[in-house]
């Protein structure tokens, strides 16, 4: 559990980070043609039996895209969901390829910093231990 797990989300802080990267995000979200050509470049997509939730585009649309569209108005449960996307479904290996040249890793990185600013982050101690 993160230290301030139950604290309300500071939306002003979230919006401030969003505004810092507004240009890149706006462009990326608008330019993405939802073509899914990025899918095959993600090794996690292949490892997880081609589950669409592991597509780079799915990850950035549902993390930073959601934050941007809702102007940061996402509750803690929403942030927890985002933690799942930006840490567990993406390892930021930066190998994803977008034919339209969108920098997907950067979008995920911005989503991670927004999560971190609200004390939402990945913790190894929360990982389930494999049974012997």
């Amino acid at each position: 559990m993160s230290p301030n797990d139950q604290a309300p989300i500071n939306q002003d802080e979230v919006r401030e980070i969003l505004d810092q990267h507004k240009d890149k995000m706006k462009t990326a979200l608008r330019v993405c043609a939802h073509c899914t050509l990025c899918a095959d470049s993600c090794f996690l997509f292949h490892v997880h039996d081609k589950d669409p939730r592991y597509m780079p585009s799915h990850k950035f649309i549902n993390s930073i895209g959601k934050l941007y569209k809702k102007r940061g108005k996402i509750d803690r449960a929403g942030f927890k969901e985002m933690e799942e996307i930006v840490w567990r479904r993406c390892v930021l290996c930066t190998r994803c390829y977008c034919p339209l040249g969108i920098d997907i890793p950067e979008m995920i990185a911005i989503a991670r910093s927004i999560c971190r600013s609200q004390d939402v982050y990945f913790q190894w101690s929360e990982l389930e231990q494999p049974a012997d």
Binding site: T27, R30, V31, H34, D40, P52, T94, Y97, L100, G101
Partner: protein, 225 residues
């Protein structure tokens, strides 16, 4: 109505398209800056490295190279999308009907391709549109991120070709169809700078101007501010 759509509306559409695209490009230049060239101080005693010298690349077989390339991974999609986009952008310039209108208005026109050929290209665009539509509806991964907006944009992009095909073959009431064709073309032009179709100018910005790993051409010159 017909006169308005054939007259002032065409000008409005072209103006919105051109000014809108210029605005988008301007906005990119305002949001980005030239890439800085860092000066690297060479440590004393070390011979300077030739900046032109590139690290040795491992030798790959043809099939290995294809596996590392989007063309090899998604050959059908890449072929269809390339042909679709080329036909979509180029066909309107060389349609005889369009050039006759240009000639009547300005006494100048572009060379025209044989009508049977442009008709074929139109069918290629429509077929590409059907391919994308089916892909979006049936392919699990595409459906996962598709929204109504994606379908609308696909319709905006292909409508001028569907109505153009219908007008050329006199399918349906000609007067209505040609009016719809004009309207569809105008809507498409105006949609380019302000919808997902903005990937038209941004493809070139992202792939040729922005500096990143997958930049094509000279390697790009600008980075985000």
């Amino acid at each position: 109505m017909y006169d308005f759509i054939r007259g002032p509306m065409v000008w409005v559409a072209f103006l919105v398209f051109i000014l809108g695209t210029v605005y988008q490009v301007y906005r990119f230049y305002r949001w980005s800056r030239p890439q800085e060239r860092y000066r690297v101080r060479i440590p004393f005693g070390k011979p300077p490295k030739d900046p032109e010298e590139k690290p040795e690349e491992p030798e790959l077989t043809w099939s290995q190279k294809m596996r590392l390339n989007v063309v090899g991974v998604n050959p059908v999609m890449v072929s269809v999308t390339t042909i679709f986009h080329l036909a979509l952008v180029l066909t309107p310039f060389f349609v005889l009907g369009h050039n006759v209108l240009l000639d009547l208005a300005w006494h100048a026109s572009l060379p025209s391709l044989p009508e049977a050929f442009t008709d074929g290209l139109t069918v290629v665009v429509i077929a590409g549109g059907v391919f994308f539509l089916l892909r979006r509806m049936l392919y699990k991964r595409v459906r996962a991120i598709s929204t109504a907006y994606d379908y609308i944009v696909l319709f905006i992009a292909t409508a001028p070709f569907i109505t153009g095909f219908m007008a050329y073959h006199h399918l349906g009431d000609y007067d209505t169809v040609i009016l719809l064709h004009l309207l569809a073309g105008e809507i498409m032009l105006m949609a380019v700078p302000f919808t997902k179709l903005v990937h038209m100018p941004y493809f070139f910005i992202n792939r040729f101007v922005l500096v990143h790993e997958n930049t094509l051409g000279a390697g790009g010159s600008r980075v985000w501010r």
